[in-house]
Symmetry: C2
Subunit: 738 residues, 2 copies
């Protein structure tokens, strides 16, 4: 660990290395929740599926019933010509290179000095941002300065409509070389010399997209020409530039889709770029910066004594903000946000269990809309349960906007059922922290009841032993096979049954007539509650009284002990060395399972039980999922294991920045890890918890951290938390602000 002075608001790349290009494409991803893109250079010769630009909620079919996250047309396409000849700066000698992500303001800057084969030296500056204020708007500035020559410089700022998808199979060991185009160009309108708009349609889901682009030269003297080449539509801007002078071009791109509920999306996109270009780059940027400033005011965590930690946490938070459609209840956040189409851009439990707490405590509206997404797909979850000959609502393991199962493998899609309880848990969690009773009664309660009914039908009664088994499930430890009575799944399912009961009571007390209607519509019988109570009393839970130990599942001690050190090398997942089938017979754990359960429901377990779980599981946990480090950091902190807590925390927080799992480039940013990092720091290291409706803290800070300061929203009030660790004993101060 280095304590050198790094700029904790920035991520900086000082040297261009082609082998690290994908990694930095991921790390320099930008977004405003509505849309986002990877950090590719505009002039690079990327494959058509590598220059990824995403619009939240835009999916299209790649086969019957299965969709991919559409890589929409690349609005950041640039070709640079000097005296009529194309210049690819990455094929030149790069003399000077600097790329910086300014997290405070959400802008990516780049400055390049290149020497071409004719010994011409050229400085090429570029900046790019998605406006956090105007969600349909993306802006770039491109400036070219010939250093040792004069010449005619032409820049083509375009939209690359040849963007394609390279669908990635669910199986993490398979790769797919297939490249598919998921949209057609439906119209091209060169309505001004410096402006163009294009219409696109996704092929299967029939989502219409309108993208408008205009190029402005703030200093003038530039000729613009709106052109269409093969698959590139854009504006060519030309200027004779003297040695040491520059051409500077600002490009405004606006995107609207038929999902926005606006009648004329072409008009809207044209108006957006007209208006933005009139205001100009600086003003548009300032408006976006102001939004970022508001975001950071509530989200920033200031830490004295650990720059790597501060930078890492800020990076995680930056990405969580960038990929979240705060006002939109029809989308959730994909496992890789808007930074990659890995996992087909699907939504998982990652959102509810790992990311949601960040939003609950810093932006309740965003949290509410993430849960509204689940309400909006409740009918699909009910249909899903019916198709599986079960009752209530069964949420899909992975889905896009329509809430239909997208997982294609049996052992995961059909068996990893805990997601339904995870969603119920998240609703209760949101309600407990925000006190948003309107959401609870209007939307949450119905989900809690329907998911409880699902669980009642998913347990199997064992007449011989008078108990209920949870048969053929997979817990968070995906190496545990399709197993029986996975404790995580069972206890969260029982919690879900309790929440269902509570929801009914709440409706009876607060929305009597709504409950009567709902009951009749869902054909609910009061007697169902008797079954729920019977299950709660008699469900089989593997518990060793003598050891105070919750055992992962029925099979745990049937598994073979593995000498992990002989197989696991570094952080590379073991499934790359030992096949999944074999792994499931070893007593190893892919990721936090019982330990995660205890992090979610700490009040249900004693300190002794927590210690016993740590002793049993931590040493055989492989952390072959990015979801594991953060949970372990949080749990270790609760157990006062300072060193372990900090070590796990740093792995989680710097997972992407330091490319710890060696897949950030190929797969994008790990959003669950980002959320888990935040939780590990706030709930683990800073020890934030709620008791008797009061926000409290029981920190477990490493000694080198001197001072921590951050804000949280609890029960509709804003609190400032200050932890002073510069003198012993450590002091915590929690006060309300506004």
């Amino acid at each position: 660990m280095s304590y050198g002075s790094i700029n904790t608001w920035k991520l900086i790349e000082k040297e261009y290395k082609p082998e690290k290009a994908l990694l930095y494409d991921s790390l320099f991803s930008l977004g405003n929740g509505y849309m986002g893109s990877r950090g590719f250079h505009p002039e690079e010769n990327k494959e058509s599926y590598e220059a990824m630009v995403f619009i939240a909620g835009v999916y299209d079919y790649i086969k019957a019933g299965i969709t991919d996250f559409v890589n929409t047309p690349n609005i950041f396409y640039i070709n640079l010509y000097i005296d009529g000849q194309l210049l690819n700066p990455f094929e030149c000698n790069i003399i000077d290179y600097d790329r910086e992500l300014d997290m405070k303001n959400g802008v990516l800057y780049r400055k390049l000095t290149v020497r071409d084969s004719k010994e011409r030296d050229t400085v090429i500056e570029y900046s790019r941002f998605f406006s956090l204020k105007e969600k349909h708007l993306a802006v770039t500035r491109y400036k070219v300065t010939p250093l040792n020559y004069s010449g005619e410089i032409t820049v083509l700022n375009g939209i690359d409509a040849a963007s394609s998808n390279n669908p990635i199979p669910d199986d993490q060991l398979k790769s797919d070389s297939e490249v598919v185009s998921l949209f057609d160009v439906t119209s091209i309108n060169h309505y001004k010399k410096n402006s163009v708009s294009i219409g696109f349609n996704t092929k299967g889901t029939n989502i219409h997209m309108s993208e408008a682009l205009c190029v402005v030269s703030p200093e003038g003297g530039v000729e613009h020409d709106s052109i269409s080449l093969a698959k590139i539509v854009g504006i060519k801007s030309t200027k004779k530039v003297l040695k040491g002078s520059s051409i500077e071009l600002d490009t405004y791109s606006a995107i609207y889709t038929s999902r926005d509920g606006i009648a004329d999306i072409e008009k809207a996109s044209k108006e957006m770029i007209a208006d933005a270009s009139l205001r100009g780059y600086r003003r548009v940027l300032r408006d976006s910066e102001e939004e970022w400033s508001l975001k950071w005011d509530i989200s920033s965590i200031d830490i004295k004594g650990d720059d790597l930690l501060e930078q890492g946490l800020r990076y995680n938070i930056f990405q969580l903000i960038s990929s979240n459609s705060q006002h939109d209840g029809t989308v959730s956040i994909g496992a890789r946000g808007l930074t990659h189409s890995r996992y087909k851009g699907c939504y998982f439990w990652d959102t509810e269990i790992f990311m949601l707490p960040f939003y609950i405590y810093t932006c309740p509206e965003a949290a509410k809309n993430l849960l509204m997404f689940r309400y909006n797909t409740l009918k699909a979850a009910e249909e899903n349960a019916r198709n599986q000959n079960l009752s209530g609502a069964r949420y899909p393991w992975m889905c896009n906007t329509d809430g239909i199962e997208q997982c294609e493998t049996w052992d995961i899609g059909f068996s990893e059922v805990h997601i339904t309880a995870d969603i119920a848990y998240a609703i209760e969690n949101y309600y407990n922290i925000t006190g948003d009773i309107e959401f609870y009664l209007d939307y949450g309660a119905e989900i809690l009841i329907q998911t409880a009914r699902y669980w009642a039908s998913r347990f199997t009664y064992d007449l011989r032993n008078d108990l209920y088994n949870m048969l053929f499930v997979k817990g968070p430890n995906e190496y545990g096979g399709v197993t029986l009575n996975n404790t995580y799944t069972t206890l969260l399912a029982l919690y879900n049954l309790e929440l269902g009961k509570k929801a009914i009571e709440m409706l009876k007390s607060n929305r009597r007539s709504k409950w009567i209607d709902m009951k009749s519509e869902m054909g609910f019988e009061e007697s169902e509650i008797n079954l729920w109570n019977d299950i709660i009393t008699k469900a089989k839970v593997n518990y060793d009284e003598a050891k105070n130990l919750y055992i992962e599942d029925d099979n745990f001690y049937k598994l073979e002990v593995l000498d992990i050190s002989a197989y696991k090398k570094g952080e590379e997942p073991l499934y790359k060395t030992i096949c999944f089938d074999r792994l499931q017979r070893y007593r190893v754990i892919k990721q936090a399972d019982v330990i995660l359960l205890m992090c979610l429901l700490p009040d249900k377990f004693s300190k002794l039980e927590m210690k016993a779980a740590w002793d049993e599981y931590e040493s055989i946990t492989l952390h072959d999922s990015s979801l594991s480090y953060g949970t372990h950091a949080q749990f270790a902190a609760w157990l006062d294991y300072k060193e372990e807590a900090y070590s796990y925390l740093m792995k989680s927080i710097r997972l992407d920045i330091d490319n710890i799992m060696n897949n950030t480039g190929k797969e994008g940013i790990h959003f669950a890890a980002a959320g888990a990092s935040w939780q590990a720091f706030i709930f683990g290291i800073c020890g934030i918890y709620i008791r008797d409706h009061t926000l409290l803290a029981k920190p477990c800070l490493p000694d080198h951290i001197k001072d921590v300061q951050f804000k949280l929203i609890y029960n509709d009030r804003k609190y400032e938390i200050k932890i002073d660790n510069s003198h012993k004993p450590l002091k915590t101060n929690i006060s309300t602000v506004d």
Copy 2:
């Protein structure tokens, strides 16, 4: 059941019903083991993937690593023209219709009288056979007689190179609308007016096929012209035919592939048709009939008193002979033989467990070659085990000629591991009945040892209880989930370990130096046998002493009881009503599981145990697989349950003829059921068994069967078995012949 006089050597269709066309396409399938085809009419407007012609062993990739059974060019394509105008008889008014499969001689006959829109009546006769003597040869005869007019009649006998595949997903509930062409035409050679040869290449596996075709008119007066239309290459034959006269054309088609190990396959195919056409239709047919006569001499089962049974059994035997490449050890028999590409034409345990005994007892050479196929893919099975981080050899659940796993679903492909023990069982079974010690020592022993090593690595030692568990497997009852300690799998695996030990002893005694080489090549340690012995002693087997009951697996009594009658309608599989995920939590059985085990290893179980198994399992078995009825018939007969035995027998034997599972048309002939039918009759109803190296019988004949007569080969000697049931007590006579 009708005892009406039916021709038990024939299958007859008297009326053309379009909705039954697919069913009869399946039922009228012909083949000679090298190649085969469905029984489609030559003039029908079938989809390009419906007129299926297969060549054993010809597969091609439909995606990475996954192949389909190639639907090769349709050599039976015919267009009929009257006065230059195409006449599709199936668009005419069909006045008379007769189609007959002559099982005795392996010929399909058809006679049609049609009245077209111009009120012309035409008789169209057709016959088709694959020569059982000359495996590369298929012959047809086509005769057209204008009844009430004279005219110029033209017949195009061609090869349709537009044949395509319609790959069917493993998941039985999914269908695929994709149509793919798996080969290219590489050459067309019109080398005579009445002869043509064409070369084809499969696209991915690069198998070259040469097909030659010539048309001869035995009575002369016909003009031939060799032509190429879009995708049809063939011979146009024209004759002016007077009212009441005929045009008669014989077509000889020869097929060779690069798999045959012949240098010039084009030459070979041309020579074959030249030679055959010289000898003429009757002679070529007679040669084939002689081969059939030899086959039937050893295979026929003559039954007095039950024509439906006799016809059904003959049909099963006819198909088993038709799809078997007797002399070829590089192929096995697909689940649907050469009658359909369902299951991608793959080979399963169906061959070793269900079909093989028929061949062992009637054609040991065929049986040996089926097992040679497993020897020839032993290296692939070893690779498969290595890829799963296991030892020895692990055979794939389904494969084509290269022995590489073709199953794409986790729960079946990875979990239904019993196939490896099924193959070991079959080797021992073959050796016990044939006494073929050369095969055993040269090939079988190595398989037995490598499969034993696989099992030793597949069991998991449970230190706490000092026992071995078989974790995460699926038994024959595929509704039983991915389960633990499936008794069928465990006991056959333990048997496999015993067979491995015996094989080592046999090699030590008979092939000492071979064993020393083999041992060093496979890195075998004598200490491995200690582990085998430990597993044999300590493997967990679910057995209820009080009830003498072998329990299906660890989970059986955790499953929910289902009121089967409320859900199961007729013979339709329950998975069409209740999804697989839900089914696995009901205490129902898809197909014989423990009962099958007892049929395979009867000496290991007492009569009490067999009765207990019947009582526990029979009533909850759904027979949702065609593999189940025959086994139940055999088992019931052993328990002297005459009525049940006969009822199950008839369902198995007439499964396809009577379309009992309602999928014979869409999927082809059920070869495992055919084999199981034969076993049910021979081992069950006739009670054939071996004790002290002697062939014995303990029949359980229904009273209405008066007399049964058949032959078997045991230990290289031919036996004739006669059972006389016309007077009580029943008399059995077993005597050697020749």
